[in-house]
């Protein structure tokens, strides 16, 4: 067992694509945690979705054993990986709470980006020691001098502290390992005290039950020990405990300062929540360690099974997935158009997309997501208080509303200076209020805006990328509620209101948004056996109308000769298409139609 003074707990923080996963791979290789034969790239991003999207979605932990060249002693380095997308700053902060230090990776050709700033601030808030690394110095486009200057000016990081590295080539990686040992403090906490372990993550294993990932703050945990989860009160005899190498490797005990896993054998998701404290049932701690704030959902959408019978499956799937990803919320709701489903809250739009994809892939479900919305505060007339509305179709009647308030965010955008104009235009078109502008270096600026969150979630990020040839980056944080002149636009398909398509928009934009949306729906809803009118209305006042013409024929009137296979396959494809549609009234509406609002481009 490695003594506490030779333990180091750290994370790697970086803007997306700055080389975090590659650096993690190199650290694993250099410490022989994984031998070169088993090495696949991005070892820690083991989810298919993560590799496909090139991002880390879930935090993960791994224990490296490193013999320091300084003193020849073996150190236990616990790397707690963090997600790298703007939606997941909540997961980042959770990981950081289990660490004493963080490696800050900055791309030598890109420089400081919006998330670099956000992550550094999170790390400093947690009192972490930062080990700055300038990565990708091998690239011909690397500008180490310029970026060193940026780090000094913007983040007050002295240039002599910065390690120059190329994770791809392996340069500088030994220096990083030495710096982890030399600069990051060992964890504190008395192994003889009563047991206190913070649960920073978990997963569900069909054989071992809920497996929690813990960082022990105090005490020592032994195999077969009877444990208690302080918030839920659940108790169990642990089935296994161990460390991440990077697979789960059992050990006999874990003590203060260490990071590892505990197979609790608990079957219920609710008994072992992330943020809870694990302690000994026989000799419990007096108090839990400070846990996490609940993740705050910013984006809400209804998730409905395509086929009503799958509702119980969806409920189970949400429950299981929630154990893996506590950062989304869900509650049952029903829709006139879509039947029974769940209103889910997400950290952002990408998070919503990921949760939906994971539900579909990992649980074999076919889902319909309603248009995403933010959560509004609605002040009722006659002093009847305020209600929160996260579903546009639940907005109270107009004459019951005194005022609607919507969430705003503080938005930071880092961009080459040449794109200031287009970004200013994009942001002010989205009702954004420009705050200030700061030069990071002569070519790049940090712009700050205040903006309604509802405007941001639609497709601001895509627009930002497309207008700056991909160069700009962004990050945002909440900035409270402000009153706004908002109205609800309802959509009627074939004369029937489809609640899942309702949206809340600024009054001045209602007309144009309604027009663009019905036009988009006309293109997305296939022709039916009859003519289908699509209308947008505010109250009973129709503001836009389009018609899907009736289908005239659908027949294979072609000579395919003896090729019956081709005929049949074409029919099977049509059948599949029909199965992926939701019948609303007498009209079959494809899944994509419910997300039409996101595909409207510049509405």
């Amino acid at each position: 067992m490695i003594p506490q003074d030779r333990l180091r707990n750290f994370s790697i923080i970086a803007h997306i694509d700055h080389g975090k996963s590659t650096l993690a791979d190199r650290l694993l290789e250099l410490t022989h945690t994984i031998d070169a034969r088993q090495m696949t790239s991005q070892v820690l991003d083991s989810m298919d979705l993560e590799r496909e999207k090139g991002i880390t979605i879930k935090a993960r932990a791994v224990r490296l054993e490193y013999t320091s060249s300084r003193d020849g002693l073996v150190y236990g380095l616990n790397l707690i990986d963090t997600p790298g997308h703007v939606d997941f700053s909540y997961e980042v902060s959770r990981s950081l709470q289990a660490c004493e230090g963080a490696i800050l990776v900055v791309d030598a050709s890109q420089g400081i980006e919006a998330q670099t700033l956000a992550n550094v601030h999170l790390a400093l808030r947690e009192g972490l020691t930062i080990v700055p690394v300038l990565n990708k110095i091998d690239l011909p486009s690397a500008q180490p001098e310029l970026v060193l200057e940026e780090l000094e000016n913007v983040l007050a990081i002295p240039r002599e502290e910065v390690i120059l590295a190329s994770a791809k080539e392996g340069t500088g990686v030994p220096d990083i390992l030495e710096a982890i040992v030399a600069r990051i403090p060992a964890p504190r906490g008395n192994p003889k005290d009563r047991l206190q372990g913070l649960i920073f993550d978990s997963h569900y294993d069909p054989y071992k039950g809920v497996v929690v990932y813990v960082r022990l703050a105090a005490g020592t945990l032994h195999e077969h020990e009877e444990v208690r989860l302080m918030a839920s009160g659940a108790e169990s005899e642990i089935l296994e405990l161990g460390v991440f190498r990077p697979g789960l490797v059992p050990v006999r005990s874990l003590s203060a300062g260490e990071v590892g896993y505990v197979a609790t054998g608990l079957k219920s998701v609710r008994d072992a929540q992330v943020g809870d404290t694990i302690t000994s049932a026989g000799r419990p701690a007096a108090e839990p360690v400070p846990g996490y704030q609940e993740a705050k959902s910013l984006v809400f959408a209804g998730l409905y099974p395509l086929s009503g019978e799958d509702y119980p499956l969806l409920r189970d799937a949400l429950e299981k997935l929630h154990l893996n990803d506590a950062s989304f919320t869900y509650k049952a709701e029903s829709s006139v158009a879509l039947g029974f489903g769940f209103r889910c809250g997400f950290l952002g739009l990408l998070h919503m997309e990921i949760v939906q994809e994971r539900l579909e892939r990992e649980f074999g479900l076919d889902l319909i997501a309603s248009a995403p919305s933010v959560e509004y505060q609605v002040v009722l007339t006659h002093g009847r208080g305020t209600v929160a509305v996260d579903n546009p179709s639940r907005l109270p009647a107009a004459n019951d509303i005194e005022e609607i308030q919507e969430p705003w965010v503080k938005l930071s955008v880092v961009t080459p200076a040449s794109y200031i104009g287009p970004l200013m235009e994009l942001s002010t078109n989205r009702r954004g209020a420009f705050q200030d502008l700061e030069y990071l270096d002569p070519q790049r600026v940090l712009m700050r805006f205040h903006m309604p969150l509802a405007e941001l979630i639609v497709d601001y990020y895509d627009q930002l990328k497309s207008r700056t040839a991909g160069y700009a980056s962004m990050d945002y944080e909440e900035a409270g509620y402000r009153p706004a002149n908002l109205v609800k636009v309802d959509i009627m398909v074939n004369g029937e209101p489809v609640d899942a398509l309702s949206l809340i928009v600024h009054r001045e934009r209602a007309q144009s948004t309604g027009r663009v949306l019905v036009e988009a729906l006309r293109k997305l809803i296939p022709r039916q056996m009859f003519e289908v009118p699509i209308q947008a209305a505010i109250g009973s006042n129709v503001i836009a109308r389009e018609t899907v013409r009736a289908l005239r024929k659908n027949v294979l009137a072609k000579c395919y000769g003896g090729d019956i296979t081709r005929k049949r396959k074409l029919l099977e494809k049509q059948k599949e298409g029909k199965q992926r549609m939701k019948r609303v009234g007498s009209v079959e509406i494809p899944q994509e139609a419910f997300l039409a609002i996101l595909r409207m481009g510049e509405g």
């Binding site: 659908n554 072609k558 003896g562 296979t565 049949r568 049509q574």
Partner: protein, 423 residues
């Protein structure tokens, strides 16, 4: 499912699962020029004419394939003359433009077929031909070779439409071709016409139809111009049964799709249906009309799900449980059957799929509903099908009389809507 067929399947050692085939399709993949809407396996230009012509090599390869396929049928059902081996009832030369083959080649192929598969005295032997003077061939020669039915790819009688479609002949040529066939005493003549052609009007369609009928054919096939994308359907791979679409054809299809109109097409179909019914034609299949006794027996075998053999690139065969097809590419076809090194010929590359019982039932129903004889009415009471049939009935798609249920004209136009609900 679409791997190259394992050798043991091709040896014919499996047990016979149904009757031996009584129909045979021969694909001739040559045309003088390419029509941009056509999906069939076709080679043009130097392949068809002059010193680099591959027609002779191809006819040799076809004969070789006929021999190899016949060996398999012999192994499964016994040699020709045994009880299970009745001679073929139909033989069909399709393409491409089979009328590009010299009558002597057709005669030679018919002879191989007669020797190895048998050919009933009253067998229907169809040959597809273009009406143009340079590719319609010698009708008398074909008749002497044994052809009893000629299928003319007229497509339209309007020269403007023929130009749009990339056809080489003119409207007036169709009459010459019919006359030549009649003089050669070919017993049955079909004329193919296309509707929903860019630039076509209800008036020009009516005119084409009337001019076709004025030639007193025995059969007409009216096809909607269908602009597919075989590449997107995944049919054009190495072992696929289609060739990749040429870029010119792809562009032509994209532009033409925009000039098609469902409303107009529907009107054309209704109009043709009424006109032909008025003149006593039998609308025996969604796209096919015949005078009594002139229904295409070969095509009926497809729709009745009877086994059929097939040879030539891209050709499809069915043995009752397995659907098999040859790969489209001519090089691979010739290399297998006419090995340049003189080694023993082998079956050409291709793939197959086995049709399971439920798919077979669905196929029977769908193919049956394409015909005016329909399917047994008791199918409407099958629990898995009642909803779909009730839905179709409520929309006026079905006609139930006595023991059979069949599609109305409206039902035919929406047949895919019903079929997709039945499979």
């Amino acid at each position: 499912m679409t791997e190259r067929e394992p050798a043991e399947l091709a040896t014919g050692l499996e047990a016979a699962s149904g009757p031996a085939p009584r129909s045979l399709y021969v694909h001739v993949p040559f045309c003088v020029s390419l029509c941009p809407y056509c999906d069939f396996v076709v080679y043009t230009g130097r392949s068809t004419r002059g010193p680099r012509s591959r027609i002779d090599a191809f006819v040799g390869a076809l004969s070789q394939e006929l021999e190899l396929r016949a060996d398999i049928v012999d192994a499964r059902f016994g040699a020709l003359g045994s009880v299970a081996r009745r001679p073929l009832d139909t033989l069909y030369f399709g393409g491409g433009t089979p009328s590009l083959l010299p009558p002597a080649s057709i005669a030679a192929l018919v002879q191989v077929v007669r020797e190895r598969f048998g050919l009933a005295t009253e067998a229907e032997v169809t040959l597809e031909a273009n009406p143009g003077p340079d590719d319609r061939g010698d009708a008398t020669g074909f008749a002497d070779a044994g052809v009893t039915r000629l299928s003319l790819g007229a497509q339209s009688f309007q020269d403007e439409e023929l130009r749009t479609l990339g056809r080489r002949h003119r409207g007036a040529h169709v009459a010459d071709a019919v006359l030549a066939a009649r003089s050669a005493r070919i017993a049955s003549i079909n004329i193919d016409l296309l509707y929903d052609v860019p630039g076509q009007t209800l008036a020009s369609w009516t005119d084409s139809l009337e001019r076709a009928l004025a030639l007193a054919p025995d059969h007409v096939s009216l096809y909607a111009l269908t602009l597919d994308d075989p590449d997107a359907e995944g049919l054009t791979g190495e072992l696929g049964d289609h060739l990749p679409t040429r870029s010119g054809a792809r562009r032509w299809r994209a532009a033409s799709r925009r000039r098609q109109d469902d409303e107009r097409a529907t009107a054309m179909y209704h109009h043709a249906t009424a006109l032909l019914a008025g003149e006593g034609w039998r609308a025996y299949e969604i796209s096919n009309w015949a005078r009594r006794g002139h229904e295409s027996r070969h095509n009926l075998a497809y729709w009745w799900r009877q086994p059929y053999e097939a040879v030539g690139p891209g050709a499809h065969a069915f043995d009752g449980t397995r659907r098999r097809w040859n790969a489209a590419r001519l090089e691979g076809y010739l290399a297998a059957l006419q090995p340049p090194d003189g080694s023993k010929p082998i079956l050409p590359p291709g793939s197959s799929e086995t049709v399971d019982a439920s798919t077979a039932a669905a196929e029977s129903m769908i193919l049956g509903l394409r015909l005016d004889t329909g399917v047994p009415a008791e199918l409407m009471a099958e629990p898995a099908l009642t909803d779909a049939f009730a839905w179709a009935k409520s929309l006026g798609f079905l006609l139930v009389d006595g023991s059979r249920v069949r599609l109305t004209t409206r039902g035919r136009l929406f047949s895919n809507e019903l079929f997709a609900r039945l499979i």
